[in-house]
């Protein structure tokens, strides 16, 4: 049985992981684009991403697009697995065996 993951369970991080898990394995989303879709501030999103990155759930890449620095974020296989486990744990609370 899966356990709830306290790192993922925080509401903003739950939102972030849920959004990132929709990306394909080789896809990365722009920080600003993600921020707009989640209605988070720069600082808030940055702090939560740092927490998730430290845990190994997401990968953060810096790149230059049209000579401007950009930050792209994607979910790691471990992050995808942890999120799926967390969702399964939430579902098992609602439907206990």
């Amino acid at each position: 049985m899966n356990d709830l993951d306290p790192v993922i369970h925080q509401p903003a991080r739950l939102q972030i992981m849920s959004a990132l898990c929709q990306l394909g394995a080789s896809e990365r989303v722009d920080f600003t684009y993600l921020k707009q879709h989640l209605n988070l501030t720069d600082g808030n999103l940055g702090a939560h991403l740092a927490t998730l990155e430290a845990r190994g759930y997401i990968a953060v890449e810096k790149a230059f697009v049209a000579r401007r620095p950009k930050t792209f974020v994607g979910v790691t296989p471990g992050g995808r697995q942890a999120f799926a486990g967390h969702v399964a744990a939430l579902q098992s609370i609602l439907q206990p065996k």
């Binding site: 939102q15 849920s18 959004a19 990365r28 989303v29 790149a63 939430l90 609602l94």
Partner: protein, 187 residues
């Protein structure tokens, strides 16, 4: 960590809301613009070839060239929001297929292109080969589009060559329609 069923239910609702918002955002990056672009380009080329036959060759080059530029433009614009890490092995496979398709096989078989239709069919199917490879590589819808269009082009060429241009126009419609499917229905 223990939470109540109400909290679990609320968390699942938040997950679903976030998932749906991101999914609709991602949908606009799923490649439908390329399918629309090349569907229209294909239809335009088929109509011109149908009307002017070999005289439309230079128009085909122009349409293809502008299509390539537009493809690069779309790729550049979309990579600012969601970018895909380029798989170097996949890029090498595509480059090899195109190199052989344009520079090696024609050396041996150019004389076998007994008609303008045969040459057009050869090059369009060559590009469909890339769709098939991409579909296999990335496990997506491009495999079926590539196979369906290839089958239609080959069958038309062999069975009803008199209607070749009319039916290649249908291939353009297939690309265009696939673009709509990818944009609005496919996950």
């Amino acid at each position: 960590m223990d939470i109540s069923p109400e909290e679990a239910s609320k968390a699942l609702q938040e997950i679903e809301a976030s998932r749906m918002a991101m999914r609709s955002a991602i949908r606009s990056h799923r490649g439908h613009l390329y399918l629309w672009l090349w569907g229209c380009a294909w239809i335009a080329m088929s109509v011109l070839n149908w009307m002017y036959d070999k005289k439309a060759l230079s128009a085909n080059y122009w349409i293809s060239g502008l299509g390539m530029l537009a493809t690069l433009g779309i790729g550049f614009f979309q990579a600012r929001q969601i970018r895909v890490t380029i798989d170097r092995r996949f890029a090498a496979v595509c480059a090899t297929l195109l190199l052989f398709g344009y520079c090696v096989w024609p050396v041996f078989f150019l004389g076998e292109f007994h008609s303008y239709k045969a040459a057009f069919g050869y090059f369009t199917v060559l590009w469909m080969q890339l769709y098939v490879v991409a579909g296999i590589w990335f496990d997506n819808y491009l495999l079926w589009i590539g196979l369906a269009v290839t089958a239609l082009v080959v069958a038309t060429f062999l069975i009803v060559p008199a209607f070749f241009w009319a039916l290649t126009l249908l291939c353009g419609v297939m690309l265009l329609g696939s673009g709509f499917y990818v944009r609005y229905f496919w996950r």
